[in-house]
Symmetry: C2
Subunit: 165 residues, 2 copies
Amino acid sequence: MHHTNMVKSKRVCTLLLRVLALCATIAAAIVMGTSHEKSSFFTIQFEAKYNHTPAFTYFLIVNVIGGVYSLLVLFFPAESLLWRFVVALDVVITMLLTSGVSAALAIAYVGKKGNSYAGWLPICGQVEGYCHQVGGALATGFAGVIIYMLILLYSLHSAIHPLHL
Amino acid sequence: MHHTNMVKSKRVCTLLLRVLALCATIAAAIVMGTSHEKSSFFTIQFEAKYNHTPAFTYFLIVNVIGGVYSLLVLFFPAESLLWRFVVALDVVITMLLTSGVSAALAIAYVGKKGNSYAGWLPICGQVEGYCHQVGGALATGFAGVIIYMLILLYSLHSAIHPLHL
């Protein structure tokens, strides 16, 4: 009986983490995908959009992949052979999400601070709303990475100490 | 007897992967750390160095961390309790290396191609040798990430199918 309760509470915890991961990845993709601002500097029309920056497009794509995967995993039948591959897939998805957030963050940092050595000027002063929205997408994407890390460490703990469940 | 051979071949394979990971991370750190070029454009002195770009400094740091960790793991005594944490540490190191390579690659891409929307010009034309060396560091760092992914998937396989070893 005690054992059954442990199994149940483990399932609830994993399920909760996977639902949170689904929410975070989809939210990050939507917030990044809708980031868009038009601005004018004297007579020059200036438009900022996520797909002007390859790193932001990559961030959007990996979060969509992460979201779709998180959704599919929720509907895997409990007896499916696919569960054998879920931990390996979790590793790959965690690495993809990590690389998406890191690449986007590196570019966002240049957008915010510029790089005087390379002569790249910061652009956040011109398109402040856009920058805030990208910042929100990055924060949400980072939450998704942390949740996936927890899922991974949790699965590892269960796999290495199967008797504790 | 057959079982003992499997255990041995598994140990040799893991050891080989860990030595390769050590070489790749240390090489990536050294190649990035020594990247440096002076150039002049008419009368303007121009210097390119890894620590002018926060993403490259981050890449160097995570590869040094990865290298030190890879070295320490080689000397863990076989009976140590630390082995319980090694898979979890492998997850964290893999994520750190992934984020380092991704951030540096995102910036290197802007250095190579520029970003016309943001008004950031490519700089690789002025400091070609520097760009090639950074490219080499990125390729080596990427190899380190792939090796760590293999180590992780291999440990997972062993943890989930302990009878196969």
